[in-house]
């Protein structure tokens, strides 16, 4: 089938998938012994109070009504109110999610870098001692429970050496604030309306030109026209942003990922602190995962290195490093990339234990806490977000693969 059909089919399939997920969770939650109403009353509660609470939580409605209310709410983008503390579930999830995302990305980077590097080394000395050691290392790290490894790391680096903090995401008062376009009514209009648009326009033009040159296009009249167009578009956009910022007291851009936010803020000190806190949890999670990448890289590289064009490159006298990373690796990389995508999705769930060990304020820990309280809306919301994210990642990975390898259009 064509790429377009494939894409559309995949996207359409995501919706029923999420619905099934949601329905399962909905049912499972209500089958669980214990309910959120009970959890609100530590001590005595009269039947009237209990009933008042049921109404407050919306649990007095019939089950199907609750279900449809929730599903329709989802389509509107409303994840409901938490049954534990009445705050917006959407808000809570979207403040917890970037933390897990950051941890997942960092862990994946570590797993990927260590795994790929070791995998390549292993494939180069196939079946020799170095290869065996590396393979065994990958297997052993996989078998370690992540919270055990985390505890050891905490003990060694946090207590004995005192190099790194033992838990948490950020030091008190060090929340990165992200980018603050502090253009407000007091700001210099000249800078806002002339200098900034000029710079942005020029930037866009240079990007276009570089891209065009890379594709070896000629610089004719069309190129000049496009350059002017890009310049105008860039300046206009920048001008509009400046105007908006000036009239509303400044625009605030923050991603929720503290590493990115601290860079956006321009505060290198905060960036360093964020990395310090991020290091141990990602290391724990990344080490446990790197085994997969070692194995995959090793086998793929081994296969690729046997192919003809590699032998030809070596025969031409190219350096070993060039051959490995420049030729062979690029071809072997594709399955590794897709594996990263798949692992990423699973990483989100596996982060639960890591987050508990390191007091990392992420979605996994949120979910476990809410399960304890039987906070139905929060649990449903978190599961939907998880499922949605996993589906999106696997969709992107599948699409990437389908785009790059036309054979796979199942």
């Amino acid at each position: 089938m064509t790429l377009r059909t494939y894409v559309i089919t995949r996207i359409l399939l995501t919706i029923p998938m999420i619905l099934i997920l949601l329905t399962t969770v909905f049912i499972v939650m209500r089958v669980l012994p214990g309910d959120p109403v009970q959890m609100h009353f530590e001590k005595m509660a009269t039947p009237a109070t209990i009933e008042a609470m049921r109404v407050q939580l919306g649990l007095n409605k019939p089950l199907w009504a609750q279900y449809f209310d929730y599903v329709f709410g989802l389509f509107r983008g409303d994840l409901g109110k938490s049954m534990q503390d009445y705050s917006s579930v959407g808000q809570q999830i979207f403040s917890a999610f970037p933390a897990t995302l950051e941890l997942a990305i960092c862990a994946m980077l570590i797993a990927g870098i260590i795994g790929i590097f070791l995998g390549v080394e292993a494939s180069k000395s196939y079946n020799k001692p170095k290869d065996h050691v590396i393979r065994v290392f990958g297997i052993v790290t996989y078998a370690i429970p992540v919270f055990f490894l985390g505890m050891i790391l905490q003990l060694v680096f946090g207590v004995w050496l005192r190099w790194l903090p033992t838990g948490g995401r950020v030091a008190p008062g060090m929340n990165p604030r992200g980018l603050n376009l502090a253009l407000n009514a007091n700001s210099n209009s000249f800078v806002a309306y002339f200098v900034a648009p000029l710079l942005v326009g020029l930037l866009l033009v240079s990007v276009y030109l570089t891209a065009a040159k890379a594709k070896h296009k000629k610089f004719g009249r069309r190129a000049i026209l496009f350059s002017l167009a890009f310049f105008a578009a860039g300046s206009l956009l920048s001008g509009v942003i400046s105007w908006y910022s000036m009239s509303s007291g400044g625009i605030h851009v923050s991603t929720g990922l503290f590493t990115v936010d601290s860079l956006l803020e321009g505060n290198i000190f905060k960036f360093g602190t964020t990395i310090k806190y991020l290091l141990l949890p990602s290391l724990a999670l990344g080490l446990v995962l790197c085994g997969v990448f070692i194995r995959l890289t090793r086998s793929n590289m081994f296969d690729t290195m046997r192919l003809d064009f590699v032998t030809a490159a070596k025969a031409r006298g190219l350096k070993d490093r060039n051959v490995t990373y420049g030729y062979a690796f690029r071809n072997a990389f594709l399955p590794i990339l897709t594996m990263m995508g798949l692992e990423f999705a699973l990483l989100l769930g596996g982060a639960v234990l890591t987050e508990t060990t390191f007091s990392w304020p992420g979605l996994g820990r949120y979910l476990v806490d809410r399960i304890n309280f039987r906070d139905y809306t929060a649990i449903q919301g978190a599961v939907v977000v998880f499922g949605l994210f996993v589906s999106i990642v696997s969709l992107v990975v599948d699409l990437l693969y389908a785009y790059l390898d036309p054979r796979i259009r199942l």
């Binding site: 403040s95 033992t166 008190p172 502090a182 930037l203 570089t210 040159k213 304020p361 309280f373 039987r374």
Partner: protein
């Protein structure tokens, strides 16, 4: 790659050069913009040094900021109409002020926002004279109107989550009347001897009307002040306390940080309080992380919760100080009286005689708790070691009692013992194991252990499906009534679902509640304790101790029966 020629190379190099120059200009501009914006941001307000400090510490030796670590988190919000958790109350008490308070280290009530008080002879009318010259944030003066506003509001909101419903303020207080700007009167529905204790509770802190606004014709649950992101002042309706809320960061329902800053309007600021001007509270996910944090020096004070083994270990540490005090948390053994075997008082008494509290306290808590022989804890009047009459453990008595019902070594009394497994109570699984061991050591009892997570446990309790289960209790107000009425009184104890009903007991409890004479009440509670031993509806197990671990330069930690953590008394010396 295509074969390169010199013309192409030159063109490419030129292109690269132009792009590079443009990029440099842009980066310079952007960097300039950043520095421009960062210097424009308001700097955090530096705390103004207090006018006069306590005479014992000169300004240079008391640290300005203290970092505290805890595993707690504000459960719902900082509105006394709804907040009903330990940590929420701790913060409310730092931000607000009640009419009366406890003298630190004792259970004596002293003046706070009220300077003196009196009660009518029938115990139904309490009159408070208020302190003059106290102001809210906005400069308006604190008067009796604020007191009436507070209690009217909180009682009317009647939040099912909150202490006003849970403790039953509405069942105790009939109305609050303003007699004059600085005299307020509480009219009660029933004579309530523990009324002062109730007024000293964190739930009774006075709110700031400006931040607890009136809405519509009456107050309702929607008027409860909840957490607002980046708006600490708008997130709490308190005022008049030793601190103001400088920042409150909460992610996904869990706190990550709370910062307190000295309140210059605090009525006792002239006395040098709060001792520490800034307090940063950092939240940790569990005991181990907190233990690591205090050991590595990340925090100055660690309070709630630390594992017993860590506490014992830290007692040997030379750079940490371990503070110990009376706890008010108790745990007790419940038995379901609706079904066999516990519908027979003989069986219940047999269990009471076989329990080994010493083993429990020594093994599970390594001696860092106290054996409890009465539902009223040690340190409170009304406490008597009533359950010691069994002699614990007293297997002879156990065997005798059970033999009378036909149980012996070949026909053992068998039942399920339930405990909660999600960490709601400390070391529940270990406690269950030790209790099982001590009961089975009698030779005539077999205990099967079962567990549920807290939510499931609660439901099972309501559904009365558990034969024997362990529960715990934190007091709402510091009075023996709060340890008796909610357990053995027919309506008061109904939430426990042990189905114990005794009219004799009910009469005694009502008597003790109403009488204002401490001496008389003490006598009645003695009788109540004896009746509990005779009827054995529940069996007290142990009373916790309170612990805090701090660096060696920290002073002012008071761990007393009131369980109030007074942030304004804690300080650290040194630079």
């Amino acid at each position: 790659m295509k074969h390169l020629n010199t013309k192409d190379v030159k063109a490419v190099s030129k292109m690269i050069a132009i792009v590079a120059i443009i990029l440099v200009i842009i980066i310079a501009g952007v960097a300039a913009g950043y520095y421009y914006s960062t210097t424009q941001q308001p700097t955090s307000p530096t705390p103004t040094p207090s006018a006069s400090l306590s005479p014992t510490a000169s300004p240079s030796t008391v640290k300005e900021t203290l970092v505290m670590g805890t595993t707690d988190s504000v459960e719902t919000c900082l509105d006394p109409a709804r907040a009903y958790d330990f940590f929420g109350w701790e913060i409310i008490q730092s931000l607000g002020c009640p009419l009366v308070e406890y003298q630190a280290g004792t259970d004596q009530i002293i003046a706070s926002l009220a300077t003196s008080w009196s009660v009518s002879d029938d115990g139904l009318r309490w009159t408070f004279n208020l302190r003059q010259g106290v102001h809210f944030d906005n400069g308006s003066e604190f008067t009796a109107d604020a007191v009436k506003y507070t209690f009217d509001r909180n009682i009317q909101i009647a939040d099912p989550d909150g202490p006003f419903v849970g403790i039953g303020y509405g069942d105790i207080i009939s109305n609050v009347t303003v007699i004059s700007p600085f005299v307020v009167e509480f009219n009660l529905k029933i004579p309530f001897a523990a009324f002062l204790s109730l007024m000293a509770s964190q739930a009774s802190c006075i709110v700031d009307p400006q931040y607890a606004p009136e809405a519509g014709a009456t107050w309702s649950v929607n008027d409860v002040v909840v957490y607002r992101d980046s708006d600490p002042r708008g997130s709490n309706p308190m005022g008049l306390g030793p601190y103001t809320l400088k920042s409150w960061t909460r992610t996904a329902g869990k706190d990550s940080e709370i910062q307190l800053q000295a309140n210059p309007n605090y009525w006792n600021a002239s006395g040098g309080y709060p001792k520490t001007k800034n307090i940063n509270i950092k939240m940790y996910a569990d005991q181990s992380s907190l233990a690591l944090a205090i050991q590595s020096g990340d925090v100055d004070v660690a309070f709630r919760q630390l594992a017993t083994t860590d506490i014992i270990n830290m007692q040997h540490s030379s750079n940490l100080k371990v503070w110990t005090g009376t706890g008010a948390f108790i745990q007790y053994f419940c038995m379901q009286e609706k079904y066999a075997p516990f519908n027979d008082v003989t069986v219940r008494q047999a269990i009471a005689s076989a329990l080994n509290r010493t083993a429990l306290v020594q093994t599970v808590f390594q001696g860092q708790a106290q054996e409890l022989y009465s539902m009223i804890p040690l340190g409170m009047f009304g406490h008597t070691d009533a359950f010691q009459s069994f002699g614990a453990p007293n297997y002879t008595l156990t065997k005798e009692l059970l033999a009378s019902l036909g149980y012996n070594a070949n026909n053992k009394l068998t039942f399920d013992l339930w405990y909660e497994s999600s960490g709601h109570y400390p070391s529940s699984a270990e406690q269950a194991l030790v209790i099982q061991d001590s009961l089975q050591a009698s030779g005539v009892i077999t205990v099967n252990l079962q567990s549920l997570d807290w939510a499931g446990y609660r439901t099972a309790r309501t559904q009365e499906t558990m034969q024997a289960y362990i529960m715990g209790w934190y007091p709402d107000y510091i009075d023996p009534d709060d340890y008796i009425y909610p357990f053995v009184q027919s309506t008061g104890g109904s939430w426990l679902h042990i189905n114990y009903n005794s009219s004799t007991m009910d009469a005694l409890v009502a008597n003790a509640r109403g009488n204002t004479s401490v001496a008389i009440r003490q006598g009645i509670y003695g009788q109540i304790n004896d009746l509990i031993v005779a009827d054995c509806p529940l069996i007290p197990l142990y009373q916790s101790s309170a612990f805090a671990v701090t660096k060696t330069n920290v002073q002012g930690v008071y761990l007393d029966i009131t369980q109030q953590w007074r942030n304004w008394l804690v300080y650290a010396t040194g630079s």
